[in-house]
């Protein structure tokens, strides 16, 4: 944290350069894919010489990995935090959906890469990345599953499916809506309940009148 103060001018400068390289790289990778973005291009876009890139990253793969893992870490943290903030399960879920949306919206270029890497077999890059990301994602789903489990044991949620399955379901649902938004089809819902209602209310069970929705369809 306050370690930042300890960095010398030179070190701060190096940090900035590194960031600029990564920024240029994200843009190019997400536009053209890993294999079609050349180191030359990345260097040019970042306004450095190719050789300089290699002073910061062992090779192209290393650059790419750094890119993905560092950003993925930030996502993971933001989402874990979103789930931790509240004690009310419903609010936690709403928070999750909303934060996921916001975080993704603010990093479109990266999201393309992240989706390419985590969904669809990510053979773009050697083994390591793949399993590391999966591991992290799995942890997050675990935290999410715990929210469902807690809601169930407190009698607020029905046991309509295993918590772990519900976690997978909610996460993939968010991703589906986000994908739609990325492709410019639909907007990501303003209200998290557009997504969550699919979980909250049963498609069947016509005997119970619903209060707040059957809203504008």
């Amino acid at each position: 944290m306050q370690e930042i103060k300890k960095l010398s001018r030179r070190e701060r400068e190096k940090c900035r350069q590194r960031r600029e390289m990564l920024t240029a790289a994200v843009q190019l990778f997400s536009e053209k894919g890993y294999h079609n973005a050349s180191m030359q291009e990345i260097a040019a876009k970042a306004e450095f010489a190719v050789g300089t890139l290699y002073k910061f990253f062992k090779n192209k793969e290393d650059l790419y990995k750094a890119l993905i893992t560092e950003q993925a870490d930030r996502f993971h943290e933001a989402l874990t935090a979103a789930l931790g903030e509240e004690t009310d399960e419903i609010a936690q879920l709403r928070n999750y959906v909303q934060v996921k949306g916001r975080v993704f919206m603010d990093n479109v270029a990266f999201i393309r890469l992240y989706f390419a890497e985590t969904r669809g077999a990510g053979f773009s890059i050697k083994a390591g990345l793949d399993s590391e990301l999966r591991e992290r994602h799995c942890q997050l789903l675990h935290v999410l599953a715990a929210v469902f489990a807690k809601g169930m044991s407190r009698g607020r949620f029905q046991r309509i499916a295993e918590p772990q399955h519900l976690a997978v379901a909610l996460d993939s649902l968010c991703n589906a809506f986000l994908s739609n938004w990325l492709e410019g089809r639909d907007a990501y819902p303003e209200s998290p309940d557009i997504i969550l209602n699919i979980f909250f209310h049963g498609l069947l069970e016509p005997s119970f009148p619903l209060h707040c929705e059957s809203e504008r369809l």
Copy 2:
């Protein structure tokens, strides 16, 4: 159909060769990705010379496109058929989930490619493919949405979300479970209801009506 009889021996032979090439290609592409599978390798695996590959496909991209679109067509047909067979909406949904599972299980190598291409930004290959697949997928979702809409207008389904959204949701849910299965985490559910119950039953207690904004502990 009986066109097959009309093919000369030579033509049948050509078909077989073409299939063998495509089979070798699917395997390599799905293992190593588009860019890391070389034409030399594909030729070797199919037991042909490189030049022969080029007698059948204009170039690498053409080979890849043929691969994806031909197989995707079969999927699309199988799934559309699955939705058409029944007149009872619930049975239609069950059928969809089940057929999707079966079809995918039987074509694992291809599925990896399909996921890589349709989810995650598919920049592997030039424009055409991308939008063509999306178009097809969109049509399918439309048919699926119609099932939800019909169920609603017949009073069997509650209007918990727009039909189109429900279609996206169910499809992405299936994909999520299939992904899990591909990664060897969980098995794809034997019964389609493991997935469908998330839609059919509400997570919230029916006696616990949720008012849109004013929810609290």
